[in-house]
């Protein structure tokens, strides 16, 4: 059971890391719009009205 005296401090470090990542995510606006991205993925560039970029390049060639 001695290993627990090492593992718990390690887990504390991990928790610290998690909190830091979370705070970073909030600060950088990851949670600002929780609905938009779900819709944005549906409105992708492969809509037939938008010309795919690689085709444009082919046209140039």
């Amino acid at each position: 059971m001695e290993i627990i005296y090492l593992l718990i401090p390690v887990s504390l470090l991990l928790v610290g890391l998690m909190v830091w990542v979370f705070l970073w995510a909030v600060r950088s606006g990851q949670f600002d719009d929780l609905e938009g991205p779900a819709h944005r993925i549906l409105m992708d560039d492969d809509s037939p009205t938008i010309e795919p970029p690689d085709e444009e390049e082919k046209n140039k060639e």
Binding site: I4, I8, V15, F22, V26, D32
Partner: protein, 838 residues
């Protein structure tokens, strides 16, 4: 400021002969190293700090020296009123700065919209309202819980706006002039902070919970003391950030409550958290007794979660008003005459004034109220009226700021700007409606405040009892009692439901102008239409053409329209509308016989159009044919077209029904309402309209007094009557109804004194509104009964020791979560309801 001259600082030789040791303003001891003075009624009085000095200066400058003579208690210290803040608020006293958010009324009375920061519960609103109402010169204060906005009316002669802002600051809140942009930023900041606290509590909470499981298992199957102590210390370490950071808003709320000598919901929450943590700390330290770290973090996390939902619910409810507030664009294109050419000049909308000419391109938003000078386009007023079909607008028509120009460019002359626009008036009505609390909410607020005091008292009594009975059990039981009871459900979720309902009503096209009528609308049993004009359009429309000569309907209509082209008569206009032609045959020698008809030359002949009598007098056509013709067909007003020799056409015009009148009456009847028609029209006309829409009960030929009698007779029989009228002509009858609903086009909204205003021609909004009102009341009732039932069971159970602290945390939080989510159903249903249509 001239008051600077009356202030003297650090003038030792003019020091007061009195041995002054305390601040003249706030009563705090004077610091030795600072000598500040303010001349008050001819004496130099000592001040403890720059804050007090600034406050005293402001009071003297505003002519309130009498305050110091008549005061019985010391005011709060001006310490937190740093000079910087004072200067900042004084800026708002300037008339130019006030232009965007202050409305001038008669004399020196002003009305402003402010936004308050730091409001956490309904009781804070009560405190602010009371505090501000006490200020001399304040006439009226109303604060909206959903939006944290305050509407305040004050007398500019007796009070300055900056002092109102400072007064709010002095009791621990902050007020800014309301400005949609800032409101958005403030909301974003609040939301992010809240999310951070929530996340920290969640992540650390999970770890604490994990350790707790190990500890529980250890208790059961045995564990080394050293290991147990290690796990407990680790748990404590993880709980500390939750306690210090995540739970901070509760402490702040509780501290503010206590300082203002009142008790809010944050007080038992804070007590619960601190008592539990102190117990855990001492248990960990001494190695004896129980630890409650898991309960503490769970409680904080769940409570923050339900508050987060509540913030989002509030936000969603206020969205409609918000959208309206942001409807006006920031910039407009002003047209300036520059020689023969016109110069286009992009200016901020705030700089526009009445008389300015602006260009509105297709797709742009109308920046202010005005009249079209030139151009033809269709305009979408959906935001204001809820009606999504664009309306055609021509030169001379009114435009409402905030509507969208759909098709082609328009030039407009501005008539109203800023606070005088229709949009601003709608917003004011809406804000007033949201700040007026229904009786049921007021009752809940009062109950919650008593309830919290009761809970704390109960916790003390229970604690003392268990202390004597079983000293080791008192701590968890006291914590459970404090935590398990839930005044939030009592006082929080009602406003959430109301703001959601207001948003839903507004979106359906029924503007609530007074907030406390929602429950009356929900309870109403009879719906009375007080005029045929409410069910019908109120203006004639062509319903049939009978051709009496060889010409086609189209040709006849064109001729009639050509003759009526210049006419201002409603019947003439209706014929022109029906013809809807761009090119009409040329007419000459038009002659108008007012009230009878028109004569003109067309295709080399003389034509007449007018009432059958008029035609009989002027045309040589067969009188019996005229007689026959005018008796055939549908009832309605008759207009005859004839030339000198013969009759050509008979036009029948009727007051057209609103398109959805029948469906709406049907929907109202299905909603269990009795629908009546009271009208001053003759019985035949009234009966005809009633039959068409399906109303059985018709009272015709009624004077306003008769209508009032019918209404009161209904009310005596116990009916709750909602009345739909035009808001101006039948004011006394409308006033007598339990709920009055005015039919109005947006442009005349300010005249209406009704409780609710139907913003468009869509009568369907009535049935929808009644349904929303019923639903809202139902949800409020559900919430309140749940809160009461829950507390009645939970409090005794906790006091008897049946509820462990962690159970209390889950129970309390899920109770408030349930109530908030229940209120949120109002917005969800609205979305489900409107999305297929939109």
């Amino acid at each position: 400021m001239t008051s600077a001259e009356t202030v003297t600082e650090a003038v030792a030789d003019r020091a007061d002969t009195r041995a002054a040791t305390t601040c003249f303003h706030c009563g705090l001891p004077l610091p030795a190293e600072l000598d500040l003075r303010v001349a008050i009624e001819g004496r130099d009085e000592p001040m403890c700090c720059h804050g007090c000095q600034a406050v005293a200066q402001a009071i003297i400058a505003a002519g309130h020296g009498g305050f110091y003579r008549y005061r019985t208690h010391m005011p709060p210290s001006g310490r937190e009123l740093v000079p910087d803040f004072i200067v900042q608020t004084r800026v708002y006293d300037h008339p130019d700065v006030q232009k965007s958010f202050v409305r001038a009324e008669a004399g020196s009375v002003r009305e402003a919209a402010l936004i308050l920061e730091g409001i956490t519960c309904a009781a804070c609103i009560w405190l602010n309202e009371r505090h501000l109402a006490q200020l001399p010169g304040v006439l009226d204060v109303q604060i909206n819980y959903a939006t944290h906005r305050a509407r305040i009316r004050w007398d500019e002669k007796r009070l300055r706006l900056s002092e109102i802002l400072q007064a709010v600051r002095a009791i621990g809140y902050e007020a800014h002039p309301y400005d949609p942009q800032r409101q958005q930023q403030a909301f974003e900041r609040e939301r992010r902070t809240h999310l951070r606290r929530l996340g920290v509590a969640g992540v650390l909470g999970m770890q604490v919970m994990m350790l707790s499981i190990a500890l529980y298992v250890g208790d059961w199957s045995g564990m080394e003391t050293a290991l147990r102590s290690f796990l407990r210390w680790t748990g404590l370490l993880l709980t500390a950030p939750v306690l210090l950071y995540s739970a901070a808003p509760f402490y702040r709320g509780a501290w503010r409550d206590l300082r203002n000598r009142r008790i809010g919901m944050d007080v038992p929450v804070t007590l619960g958290i601190l008592v539990a943590f102190a117990g855990s700390l001492s248990a960990t330290w001494s190695g004896q007794g129980e630890v409650y770290n898991d309960s503490v973090v769970m409680f904080v996390f769940l409570l923050l979660l339900s508050r987060y939902f509540e913030i989002m619910a509030r936000k969603r409810g206020a969205e409609t008003a918000e959208r309206l507030g942001q409807a006006l664009p920031a910039m407009a294109t002003r047209l300036l005459p520059d020689g023969d050419q016109e110069q286009q000049d992009v200016v901020p909308v705030a700089d526009l004034g009445p008389g300015d000419r602006v260009l509105i391109r297709a797709g742009e938003t109308v920046p202010a109220d005005g009249q079209i000078e030139s151009g033809n386009s269709s305009v979408n007023e959906a935001l204001l009226t809820g009606e999504s079909t664009p309306l055609r607008k021509h030169a001379g028509d009114e435009l409402v700021g905030g509507s969208i120009n759909v098709e082609s460019p328009l030039t407009m002359t501005v008539t109203h700007v800023g606070m005088d626009t229709v949009l601003a008036r709608i917003l004011r009505l809406l804000e007033r409606a949201q700040s007026q609390k229904p009786a049921i909410t007021r009752l809940a607020d009062r109950t919650a405040s008593w309830f919290v005091s009761g809970v704390i008292l109960a916790a003390i009594v229970v604690g003392l009892y268990w202390w004597q009975q079983a000293p080791e059990a008192w701590l968890p039981i006291v914590v459970s009692v404090l935590v398990v009871t839930c005044p939030c459900a009592l006082s929080l979720a009602t406003p959430t439901a109301l703001s959601a309902a207001t948003g839903a009503l507004m979106a359906s096209g029924l503007l609530p102008a007074r907030g406390n009528r929602l429950e009356t609308l929900a309870r109403c049993t009879h719906l009375v239409f007080d005029k045929t004009g409410t069910l019908t359009r109120g203006e004639p429309a062509l319903s049939a053409i009978h051709t009496l000569s060889g010409l086609s309907e189209q040709e006849l209509l064109h001729r009639a329209a050509a003759l009526e082209g210049q006419s201002e008569h409603p019947l003439g206009k209706a014929i022109c509308r029906a013809a809807n032609a761009r090119e009409l045959p040329g007419v000459s020698g038009l002659e108008n016989y007012p009230g009878a008809g028109i004569r003109g030359r067309l295709d080399g002949r003389t034509w007449y159009i007018g009432s059958p009598d008029f035609i009989g007098q002027h045309s040589k056509a067969d009188a019996s044919a005229l007689q026959r013709a005018s008796e055939q067909g549908l009832p309605g007003t008759r207009v005859v077209l004839a030339d000198t020799d013969r009759l050509h056409a008979l036009f029948i015009l009727q007051d057209a029904l609103r398109p959805d009148a029948r469906a709406s009456v049907e929907a109202l009847k299905q909603g269990g309402k009795q629908v009546l028609l009271l009208t001053g029209d003759n019985l035949q006309a009234a009966r005809q309209v009633a039959d068409q829409v399906g109303i059985d009960s018709v009272h015709a030929d009624m004077s306003p007094q008769d209508k009032l009698d019918v209404l009161q007779a209904l009310q005596r029989k116990g009916a709750v009557v909602a009345m739909v009228g035009d808001g101006i002509n039948d004011a006394p009858v409308l006033a007598a109804a339990d709920v009055s609903i005015a039919m109005h086009d947006a442009a005349h909204i300010s005249h209406a004194s009704a409780d609710m205003i139907l913003m468009s021609d869509q009568l369907g909004a009535l049935a929808e509104g009644a349904a929303i009102a019923r639903k809202t009341l139902q949800i409020i009732r559900q919430n309140l009964s749940w809160a009461i039932a829950y507390n009645l069971i939970a409090l005794p159970a906790a006091a008897l020791g049946y509820v462990a602290p962690w159970m209390a945390a889950i129970g309390m939080s899920s109770s408030s979560l349930l109530v908030v989510l229940n209120a949120l159903r109002l917005t969800r249903n609205r979305r489900a309801h409107t999305s297929p249509a939109g």
